[in-house]
């Protein structure tokens, strides 16, 4: 429903009510004001794929909380702000703040938007709840009321080498010290930061990095890269890619009849259904280290299990597809904000929300993706971790870490192209 329509309707209703003031005005005074939350996501423009996915997750969480009776009896009203650029992030944050009276924000899918929207919120004295932006310097800005529940780029990149060393190397029968890895990434903030984290972690584990190659996600031809990889012949590729370049890369590897023994993506392009839609069964066997999709039911609290069921049902009913990683992340971020921050704060002022955030102590396994919630002094959640999924039968299946594992990995090493 649109803002303008809603406002008009309210005005008409108020006009009617003027005739019978006594009864209704006393009732409306008693009614609880909703808690207003503004979502700042890129809903249009180049990054809107993830923005919309994240927003849908958050929205589903808020609807669920409301249907369960809201927060201490108060409903949450979620406003949409289209932060399609840093400029738009500023004006949308301010619009929601001053026109809709929003003092609580959630965001933001890309770091460029999150960085700007959160500083704007901070200066407005509002509370900012970051779920998706991964820039490492995000929490290094001395902000008081900005908290990041989700992962940093470092957190996002680390599981890939860990998984390679712990699980894949033994399966490939290679000592992890002798494992040769090529790191491939698109050259925006996402690719650069995450691939840097991958390399740092790999070096800690003694894994050799044979190649680190960056390219623009807008590229139309990745065959030079495939050729480079073929002549280098690494055991494993760890790739940080967006959607179309991930698809292109897989297709061109196939064209050139090339395959490493294992392929590990890091989120984004490898954790989205578009990949399976584009390359069909060739997707099988690809790993993706990313925000967790789901978790092993045994490792979840009862509440999280109920949430999981409700989320899947609602999401599928509304969008006719199963939620993937970004939607799932949106849901976790929304549920945590509503239940564990708003639910435990004395009021919904920024300072009380800050207080509640600093005090919050939710054990691991309390959210559908296995996360918990505990902030360090910079406002970074310490109980968020990355996980690894694998495409099996054209579906994403969680395989790592143990708490999230639903199924064993398959196709290690990757069979020859004609045998898949």
């Amino acid at each position: 429903m649109s803002q303008s329509k809603r406002r008009l309707a309210r005005r008409e209703v108020l006009g009617l009510l003027a005739a019978v003031p006594a009864v209704f005005s006393s009732r409306s005074a008693l009614a609880q004001e909703p808690i207003k939350v503004g979502g700042i996501f890129p809903l249009t423009g180049g990054n809107s794929v993830f923005g919309n996915q994240n927003f849908q997750g958050v929205e589903t969480a808020i609807e669920l909380v409301n249907d369960r009776g809201g927060v201490k009896g108060r409903k949450i009203q979620l406003f949409k702000g289209d932060g399609n650029s840093p400029q738009a992030a500023i004006s949308e944050t301010n619009r929601l703040a001053s026109r809709e009276g929003v003092r609580i924000f959630v965001g933001s899918s890309t770091s460029a938007v999150g960085m700007v929207a959160s500083q704007e919120a901070e200066r407005n004295g509002a509370f900012y709840w970051e779920g998706m932006a991964v820039a490492n310097n995000y929490t290094e800005r001395d902000f008081k009321n900005v908290f990041r529940m989700g992962l940093s780029a470092a957190g996002l990149g680390e599981p890939a080498p860990l998984y390679a060393a712990e699980v894949l190397a033994p399966m490939l029968k290679i000592d992890s010290k002798n494992l040769k890895v090529a790191v491939v990434a698109e050259d925006s903030a996402f690719g650069v930061d995450v691939s840097r984290a991958v390399i740092a972690q790999a070096e800690k584990l003694g894994i050799k990095i044979g190649l680190r190659e960056l390219y623009s996600a807008k590229t139309t031809d990745l065959s030079p890269l495939v050729l480079k990889l073929r002549s280098l012949d690494p055991d494993m590729i760890i790739a940080t890619q967006f959607i179309n370049d991930a698809i292109l890369f897989q297709r061109q590897m196939k064209e050139m009849n090339y395959s490493p023994k294992a392929f590990v993506g890091t989120s984004a392009g490898h954790s989205t259904l578009s990949l399976a839609e584009a390359i069909g069964k060739d997707v099988n066997g690809i790993f993706s280290s990313s925000f967790p999709l789901d978790a092993n039911l045994n490792s979840l609290s009862a509440e999280a299990r109920a949430d999981r069921e409700a989320f899947l049902k609602r999401y599928e009913a509304k969008y006719k597809v199963a939620p993937a990683v970004q939607e799932s992340l949106g849901f976790v971020v929304g549920i945590a904000l509503a239940r564990d921050i708003l639910g435990n704060a004395t009021s919904d002022s920024a300072s009380d929300l800050r207080e509640a955030s600093l005090k919050v102590d939710v054990p691991v396994g309390s959210y559908i993706n296995g996360w918990g919630l505990k902030f360090d002094d910079k406002g970074q959640n310490r109980r968020a971790f990355g996980s690894v999924v694998q495409w099996q039968d054209q579906k994403m299946i969680s395989v790592y870490p143990a708490a999230n594992k639903v199924h064993d990995p398959i196709m290690v090493p990757l069979p020859a192209r004609n045998a898949r």
Binding site: L43, T44, N52, F79, D82, E92, N94, S98, R141, D142
Partner: protein, 326 residues
Amino acid sequence: MKPVRSPLTGLLLPVAGFAVLAALPLIFSDAFFVAAVTLAFLGAAASLAWNLSGGYAGQLSLGHAAFYGLGAYVSTILFLKAGISPLIGMWLGAIVSAALAVFLGAITMRLKGSFFVMSTLAFGAVVHISAINLRDLTGGPSGLAIPLRPSPENLIFAKKLIYTYVALVLVIVFYAITRMIAASKIGYALVAFRENHDAARALGIRTLPLRIGVFALSAGLISICGTVHAQYYLYVDPDSVMGLNLSLNFALMAIVGGLGTAYGPIVGALLVSVVSVVMQAYLGDQISGLTQLAYAAIVILVLLVAPTGLGPSAHAFLKRRMTWLS
């Protein structure tokens, strides 16, 4: 292009206009409005700078975001790595931009119409890509975050209203510079050149040094806007301070308001900002893309109906009405 020298349009009208602009954020003080006005002022200042070269000299540059971004980066890098105040850094940024503009101008100023446009487009892309790849200096695509340490010396203010007035000061200063240049011999030479290259040459006007000079001035001024942008957004990354869209927007504001007029960029910036913000507010909620769709449609309509810009078209319309009435 006839210069009007009546006291009304010469001084009184602009002073009154700026007084109204200055009063706006005080009268309508909600944060949304103030933020919109601040962005509009900053856009107006940048567009005024662009207009010096793009409007008066007719050098349609689509690479000015490079200079804007340079201003943002130079001052921010100096501030973060050497603790130099942006108040100093912005001048250094302006000098770097102006120097680069002289270099670019020397190469491209002899190119005609579309060729010049394309060369500036490519220049913008080169600078943008360089900023992405010079990771040690620029932080690469992740950009540079500036900590919130309010102090006038840092050009960081806790109260955002101050930015509104900083931007307004830029607008007034750039407007004055534009008026001075337009009224000078340089202005006449540029306009003569823009209107008719051959005629200007026939009159013996040597415009190349003038055009390069104005191009450099334009680059320097717009880079100061970049510094202010950095200190307001507290975040600088290649896409948001050097993107092609930015260049297009600077030009668009001037074109919508009235290319090659001193007031045009201000009118254009206010209109463009108001339209986009209002649409965002009322349409942004529904289907993704609807806001920008409507925005683009409005731009197209304006260009079709008033190809010389809304300011001059309104002026011509009023003039027709006046003569008809009298």
